[in-house]
Point group: C2
Chain length 331, copies 2
Amino acid sequence: MEIHSPYLLFLGDARDQLAAKTANGVRVWRPDWCLGQLRLPGCNADCGVPDMSIEEAAAAGVKTVILGVANRGGVIPESWTSELVKAVGLGMDIASGLHTRITEIPELAAAAKANGRSLHDVRQPTRDFDVANGKKRQGKRLLTVGTDVSVGKMFTTLALEKEMRARGMKADFRATGQTGIFIAGAGVSIDAVIADFISGAVEWLTPENDPDHWDLVEGQGSLFNVSYAGVTIGLIHGAQPDALVVCHEAGRPHMRGMPHFPLIDIPTCIEANLQAARLTNPDVKCVGASINTVNLSETEARDFCKRVSDEIGLPTVDALRDGVASIVDNI
Amino acid sequence: MEIHSPYLLFLGDARDQLAAKTANGVRVWRPDWCLGQLRLPGCNADCGVPDMSIEEAAAAGVKTVILGVANRGGVIPESWTSELVKAVGLGMDIASGLHTRITEIPELAAAAKANGRSLHDVRQPTRDFDVANGKKRQGKRLLTVGTDVSVGKMFTTLALEKEMRARGMKADFRATGQTGIFIAGAGVSIDAVIADFISGAVEWLTPENDPDHWDLVEGQGSLFNVSYAGVTIGLIHGAQPDALVVCHEAGRPHMRGMPHFPLIDIPTCIEANLQAARLTNPDVKCVGASINTVNLSETEARDFCKRVSDEIGLPTVDALRDGVASIVDNI
């Protein structure tokens, strides 16, 4: 799957800004790719780019219409379908992060076929993978891991890419989730892969490369989240990371959606991830911690990061407030 | 998926005994269910039960024809299809462990539908699962884990079921692979589940039960096998085991098919599995080790088990030579 930029962000009738979270992430990390947004009646989201019709997007040179919204009730309304059919008729591809598969909308599938355009359901892997072989590959790899889901792993990984590229380092963000795939224009929705092939898919995603090239792999789940640890360990083994960055949300009261599970402490989290990672890379190191301090004041955030840094002896930042330079210095 | 017994073991043209390994496993563990075998011209396997035609099987009361063989080239020959069509015509279900899906053979699918019979592709999960919630469930659970794949986890789990039932304990083998599913008549082919739902599928497979009931969960893969550790950790978290039994093959030179990976030592293997298991059951204990000593002499085997037992301080048996009584004593 390769998603061609530039993009039109299709916001449909997103009820609020949160429903357009994915589109917004693309806008933040790939502003140059986002030529415009399309909002239908009832849309309350705004990604801060020019409003465009399908016709205007085509004329502006948009290559792909991005469906980066949560749609209501999992059903794609007729009003969306007719716009999307129009888009493929004007030579654009569609890429969707919706649960409902756009490839299964008959009139859209037919229109895409007739016009030789691609429909990407980014939540679905589009190819088969081999089982992992664990053989050492040339090139460097960094993986973000975390105390839980939704603690800022994608954000941190993208911030690392930005910082490393600004320093002239060879670095590529490798996407493993839907928002990341839109941002990278490629990737594997790793949690949708068949269990036997998780680590094999990650090996495929992060192939041999130049000795000084860094693949920056977007982490998923957590070894300490009972729902998703299988995905996490497959990422760890498949990426055979040289470096880990541990991510955490300050002040989260318990594992997300599971009041019966306390959060793990950061040192234990680091050690468990290193232990798993040593299987495919005995030289793996944790190079820093990235703390999401969105719920803290500036002062509290600084104190929190300082405390963690003292505890683990590694650079500790809020990637949003501070950037990740000190972590890159430590690589 | 519920596979109704008794069975006819369909051996097709299995080239040798190894090709009929699955059928043979069913014969060993569920002899009462295996009324006969059907061998086509060219078959060199023998499960030691009476040869029967499809008509004879139907007359004998067979409910399901079991395809427990590795077929050549992944293609189901015409000669098989016609026999299977005949079977559903005579009121029998078909259950297959082949890679090729029998549900996708048009004439067989049509015949099954016309006759109201079921076709089970046991390698494919037949339902959707929720993500795991990790909530404590009543009842006891034991999971077999191992230093690698194919070290005797299924055998050990079944031996435990047999021993516990002989003692009048409430115990059920819970199958997670194709041979196990034929033997249990139900189960989930866990390595074929979508990554996000591995542990959720295991929660479904081992639901709440009587306080003194044991689910004996067939393990898969190994935390130390880079290809399959995602499956393994999902099993560990989903089963929330009270007891682990570690399995190992004596004398294996390296991880199966991976000369670049040495075997892990048993104490390290136990500790890593306990550490992962504590997330959903802080009270988990390892209750013994089961060593496959097929490549050792009687004396060597005894010495090997003695050495391991001294090292780990737990009952250590070859389940085939010694049975598993000492492990059950320790539960």
